[in-house]
Every structure is written in C-alpha cells, then in structure tokens.
C-alpha cells in the first residue's frame, strides 16, 4: 500500500529563515505529488503539484518543491518564510488517476515574528 512520511512534526522558524520540509513516499508506480496547506481556521488548499516534466515545481506564495525520483522524495522549500506562513503542511500522493490520494501526517510550521 502507498504511504507518505513527513520528517518533522513541528518546525519553528524565525521570519526570513529558509524552510525545507521533507516528504517521502512509498509506491513503485507512477505517482502524482502534492503539497496542501491548512492555515489556522481554514480548510485545506493546494500549494503546488507535480505531475510530469520539470522536477522542480513552483507554487503559490513563493513555495517550490523538488521531485527526486531516486529518493522517492518531494521536499517543500521556501527561501524566506513569513509569519503568515504559519500553518500545517501536508504532503500527498495520488495514484490510479487520482482516485486515491494518500496524505502524510502533516508538519506544523510556526513562524515567529
């Protein structure tokens, strides 16, 4: 069965610090990869996605992620975080034409002003 792991449960950073959140998945076939974000009090929303092509994908709000197939990884990065980036971040993988999305346990990011 597919599974997704996220390296950190809670990350605390100061504003302007660089961010990297780890994500690894286990699945041998073709996968589509996603990062979703949940801001406090809001619903989950898509941050970025990888389907094919350039393994470095750019999303909203300055986030980017790199797909490394040999490492089964899809890490999320941002060069300089802001207080407004405080949220929960979920990595997800979809298989079977998106009929099944598997989410990781999430990483809570706290950015201190």
């Amino acid at each position: 069965a597919q599974s997704v792991s996220q390296h950190n449960h809670h990350v605390i950073l100061s504003e302007a610090a660089s961010l990297e959140l780890g994500c690894n998945y286990s699945y041998g076939g073709t996968v589509n990869l996603f990062w979703y974000v949940q801001y406090p009090g809001q619903h989950l929303q898509l941050l970025l996605k990888y389907f094919s092509g350039d393994p470095l994908v750019k999303g909203i709000k300055g986030f980017e992620a790199e797909f490394i197939k040999s490492k089964f990884s899809f890490n999320l990065r941002k060069p300089s975080v802001q207080w407004s980036d405080t949220a929960e971040y979920f990595c997800a993988v979809s298989v079977n034409y998106g009929q099944n999305f598997v989410f990781g346990p999430g990483t809570r990011l706290s950015v201190l002003p």
């Binding site: 997704v4 979703y36 619903h43 929303q45 034409y97 009929q99 999305f101």
Partner: protein
C-alpha cells in the same frame, strides 16, 4: 456555492447514536472524496465517488460507516452506533475531473468535527 460546504460544522453524539454528515460539493464537480482526520494526523481516505457511483470504499473502517451520493451531487456520510474512536474531523473534497481524467486538484470543505461521548 463558491466552495465545498459541509454541515454540521460540529456534532456531538452519545456513544451508540447514529449520525449523518452532509457534503455539498462545488457545482459540476464529478469526483467526491470523504476523509477522516484524527487529531494531529493527516487525512485518511474513506471513500470516493465519481458522480453517483461509489468506486472505492476501501477506506471505510467498518460496516458502521456508509456513504451515498444518489444524484451525483450532495453526499452523506452516515455512521451507525457511533463509538468513541469515531471522534475525528470528517473532510469532504471534490474535484472537477471528468471522463476518467486525473483528479488534479482537490477542493476541501471545512469539515465536520465529530465528538462521541
């Protein structure tokens, strides 16, 4: 509506009680998913509909859980004889994908927080 709507927002049930959770997806969205999210965990897949057809219910934890989408729009997740371990946030998501195309983006509702006492 503009987004995925779920009701009620909060539900408190006594152990053994039946509950029904409603999801109104974005109009025209073919795909609909239900997820269960326990405190501090990521969403766990429950079931998937394509229009009115329930194509995957492999994530439903027991036969006490039942989901339907009779007209291919609104969906209801029913939990019979609720147990304390059913306490969680139940999320609904919809996607536009049609004709077998890949579901590229899920639009989530705010969820129903179920507390079983």
């Amino acid at each position: 509506g503009a987004g995925v709507s779920q009701s009620p927002r909060y539900k408190v049930a006594k152990r053994g009680q039946d509950v029904a959770l409603r999801c109104d997806p974005i109009s025209g969205h073919v795909s609909l998913f239900w997820y269960q999210q326990a405190l501090g965990q990521g969403p766990e897949f429950l079931t998937y509909f394509q229009n009115e057809a329930q194509l995957d219910k492999s994530g439903l934890p027991s036969d006490r859980f039942f989901a339907e989408r009779p007209e291919g729009s609104v969906s209801t997740l029913k939990i019979q004889r609720t147990q304390q371990e059913d306490s969680a946030v139940y999320l609904c998501a919809s996607s536009l994908a049609v004709g077998g195309a890949t579901n590229e983006k899920l639009f989530f509702g705010s969820g129903t927080q179920l507390s079983v006492l």
